[in-house]
């Protein structure tokens, strides 16, 4: 099984220390986290971690189960890039004078879907949103013009097949989740049924 990019989406309670508890699941296995984002989710009070790693599916599946086992984790999903819609935000700071003189800012903005966030006398900050390759391209373009600072956010991803977490949460909030679902009509009658 070959390694590929997986996006792990983890729904959790909002609890101090949980980031560490989740992060060490990866570091324990010497897996590098390529990108990590935490944010609120569609459900109030429920946090959502979006973690990108490069691994085999086998490892990711086991990891997701181990993460889900943590007390304050509600659910962990993992998806390939085909199964999600994802974006990253990138910002670029360049000297205004060079940019103004040497490149056509207008062309730059249009071609790379960039937006000027701040234009000052000394520097200009551009911003783009997109996938890794797209945001990377603009670095290559801006580098010759004295790229001062670059920063990119963690990936945020929407799972195409997901119908959100509201329904799932109701399941979790049932008083004793395992009991009513057990299809076990014999449990109370063991002595009659299971005599040797």
């Amino acid at each position: 099984m070959s390694k590929q990019e997986f996006t792990v989406t983890v729904y959790t309670e909002n609890q101090i220390g949980l980031l560490n508890r989740i992060a060490i699941m990866f570091s324990r296995r010497k897996i590098n986290i390529e990108s990590l984002n935490t944010s609120p989710s569609e459900v109030e009070g429920i946090h959502r971690f979006t973690i990108v790693i490069h691994e085999t599916e086998d490892v990711v599946r086991k990891l997701a189960r181990q993460i889900e086992k943590q007390v304050e984790v509600l659910k962990a999903y993992y998806n390939t890039n085909e199964e999600i819609v994802w974006q990253e935000l990138a910002m670029y700071k360049v000297p205004t004078d060079t940019i103004a003189e040497k490149v056509k800012v207008e062309r730059l903005l249009r071609e790379y879907g960039a937006r000027a966030v701040v234009i000052r006398k000394d520097y200009t900050v551009f911003e783009t949103t997109g996938q890794r390759e797209e945001t990377d391209k603009l670095i290559a373009v801006l580098e010759p013009y004295g790229l001062i600072e670059f920063v990119r956010s963690g990936r945020v991803a929407i799972i195409k097949a997901s119908s959100g977490f509201h329904e799932k949460l109701k399941e979790f909030e049932q008083a004793e989740p395992s009991e009513e679902v057990i299809e076990n009509e014999f449990l109370d009658k063991q002595d009659e049924v299971f005599t040797m």
Partner: protein
């Protein structure tokens, strides 16, 4: 780690309403509500308010003063393992808390329900490198099922309720609650204690899927050479009876892991022995011949499976486990039966046919015969002049009839004790299985005795492991704990020496260990003792130990270079198990 420092804030806080409870009192009220009877612990600066409160609870809560926090937590583990209840341990901040780490890791990997309470510096000092401050929450995160830092007393009832619920439900494990000193001192309006039975993000029991139970039953009914292997899950699920009914109806040969041992009486007609690196011959070899492998409450540790890519490849595996993360972790299962085996086993029993497999069972007996000749008889009834570890265990079996609690340390004596001890009751084989913690046995035996006060508790320990936690003799002395301490002394760190002999050309690198006169050491603690090195004295010495009222230390000098066999060498398949 006693150290008394700052006391000033207490006076200020103590002025508040006297009808209210302090955080410390709330901790002890939670213990009472949860049915805690015994606490193992060691006081110190940051946990002093709790100890101060404990002074007034002495009639309701028994506190055992240990000699080291590691001893405290191992005792709590031993207590939990024999009693089936949640073990409780106190330690102070900083070094007190870090001394718990080994025990937490041990309890984590062996799924032992524990609640550890650590004191912490005042909340306003957190992160200032205050005296005896350490980041306990982050240190213990990987070795706890859950941990939490309390900085406000009002949180205590709910947090402790959660702690006990998490520790004992589902797949049990250790929980650590770190309580800052101000929260211990703080008075608050206590509105009673409410037990926790639900946390929305936590699902201790996975749903039983009926179709999997049906598929499993079908596989079992169609099998010609089925084999049942079980682990501690049977004990943790209190499912010994359900398990026995299952195998008896199924008629399937059954083997145990070191952690599962004693859940089924060792002389059961379907019992074929122990799995794993030093397990029995038949169960290991025939793992790679069975057609259906039914694994109940076990996690396919590498010491059980040997080389994984050559493990039971021919078999369809049915895996019953409460922890979904264990399914397919190491061994791919054909049918995963998620759930508490107390629930799933009766369902399965209902659906299977009553069967026997005389020829298949005979295969195990044939291997048993070979092992008897090559390994077992030479160990139990040796012709050599030197005593063997196995014959000491044999003599114990003869006196107790298998009605004993054996607490082992880690190493050769552990493997020998687990191989040869007979057991007639569950929760009787207490050992550090997953972590392999030397120094576990002596403190764990103390706890085991408190957990099962009416039973004979025998700590079987090597000369190396005993020296790791022998300070707990002080606890045995002070609290008058009736544990029998059996030191099997081969004057070596025997297991490492065995590996050096077999795999490192007999280069005995730092395994030659010198010991004090153990009987004299015991005597220093007021504990009776004896040492024997000859066969003619063995029976009488064991009898003397078992008949003695109170603690007794018996040292038996055994052959220096005896090896434990059979053995599955590391990196080998279970079928490649060696008899010599």
């Amino acid at each position: 780690m006693s150290s008394t420092i700052e006391v000033a804030p207490k006076k200020i806080l103590a002025q508040s309403n006297a009808t209210n409870l302090s955080g410390s009192e709330a901790v002890l009220e939670a213990f009472l509500a949860e049915g805690v009877e015994t606490i193992f612990g060691y006081p110190g600066g940051a946990i002093m308010p709790i100890y101060d409160a404990l002074y007034d609870y002495q009639t309701k809560l028994k506190h055992i003063l240990v000699r080291h926090e590691q001893g405290g937590i191992h005792a709590a583990q031993g207590y939990a393992r024999t009693s089936g209840r949640t073990g409780v341990v106190f330690a102070t901040s900083g070094p007190g808390a870090t001394n718990l780490v080994t025990g937490l890791a041990d309890a984590m990997i062996d799924s032992t329900p524990l609640v550890a309470i650590t004191g912490q510096v005042f909340a306003h000092l957190l992160g200032t490198d205050a005296f005896q401050e350490t980041d306990v929450i982050n240190i213990t995160t990987p070795v706890t099922k859950w941990n939490y830092q309390v900085t406000d007393a009002t949180e205590i009832p709910a947090v402790l309720a959660k702690a006990f619920y998490i520790a004992r439900s589902g797949r049990p494990g250790p929980v650590l609650i770190d309580i800052t000193k101000n929260a211990q001192l703080q008075k608050f309006d206590y509105s009673g204690y409410e037990k926790c039975n639900h946390i929305r993000s936590y699902r201790p029991k996975p749903n039983v899927r009926k179709e999997y139970v049906e598929q499993a039953a079908k596989l079992i009914n169609e099998a010609e050479k089925p084999f049942v292997i079980f682990g501690q899950g049977v004990i943790l699920g209190n499912a010994e009876n359900e398990f026995k009914k299952f195998i008896e109806k199924a008629g399937i040969p059954t083997a145990w892991t070191i952690m599962g041992e004693s859940a089924l009486q060792t002389d059961h007609p379907l019992a074929v022995g122990m799995l794993g690196m030093h397990g029995n011959y038949g169960p290991n070899v025939l793992t790679n011949e069975c057609d259906v492998l039914i694994a109940v409450g076990m996690r396919f540790d590498d010491r059980v499976t040997g080389r994984l890519d050559k493990y039971a490849k021919q078999a369809k595996v049915i895996h019953l486990d409460i922890d979904p993360a264990e399914i397919d972790k190491n061994v791919k299962s054909a049918v995963p039966v998620w759930g508490d085996c107390k629930d799933t086993l009766p369902l399965l029993t209902q659906l299977i046919e009553q069967k026997v497999y005389p020829q298949w069972l005979q295969r195990f007996r044939d291997f048993q015969q070979q092992e008897e000749e090559a390994c077992i008889q030479p160990e139990l009834n040796p012709s050599s002049e030197q005593l063997t570890m196995g014959e000491v265990i044999r003599v114990i079996n003869e006196y107790t009839g298998g009605d004993h609690v054996i607490v082992t340390d880690v190493g050769q004596h552990q493997m020998v004790a687990c191989r040869y001890a007979k057991f007639t009751k569950s929760r009787s084989n207490i050992t550090s299985g997953g972590l392999g913690t030397m120094g576990f046995a002596l403190p764990a035996a103390i706890g085991a005795k408190f957990g099962a006060p009416d039973r004979t508790v025998i700590a079987v320990i090597g000369d190396g492991g005993f020296q790791m936690t022998l300070q707990e003799l002080g606890t045995i002395m002070q609290s008058e704990v009736d544990v029998k301490i059996l030191i099997l002394n081969n004057q070596f760190l025997g297991m490492v020496r065995q590996w050096q002999q077999l795999f490192h050309d007999k280069r005995y690198s730092f395994v030659d260990i010198t010991s004090p006169d153990f009987v004299q050491v015991a005597k220093g603690y007021g504990i009776a003792g004896n040492s024997v090195s000859e066969r003619k004295d063995l029976q009488a010495a064991v009898k003397q130990m078992l008949d003695h009222k109170g603690a007794f230390l018996l040292e038996v000098m055994v052959g220096k270079e005896n090896n434990v066999f059979p053995m599955v060498p590391q990196g080998s398949s279970v079928a490649e198990i060696r008899l010599k």
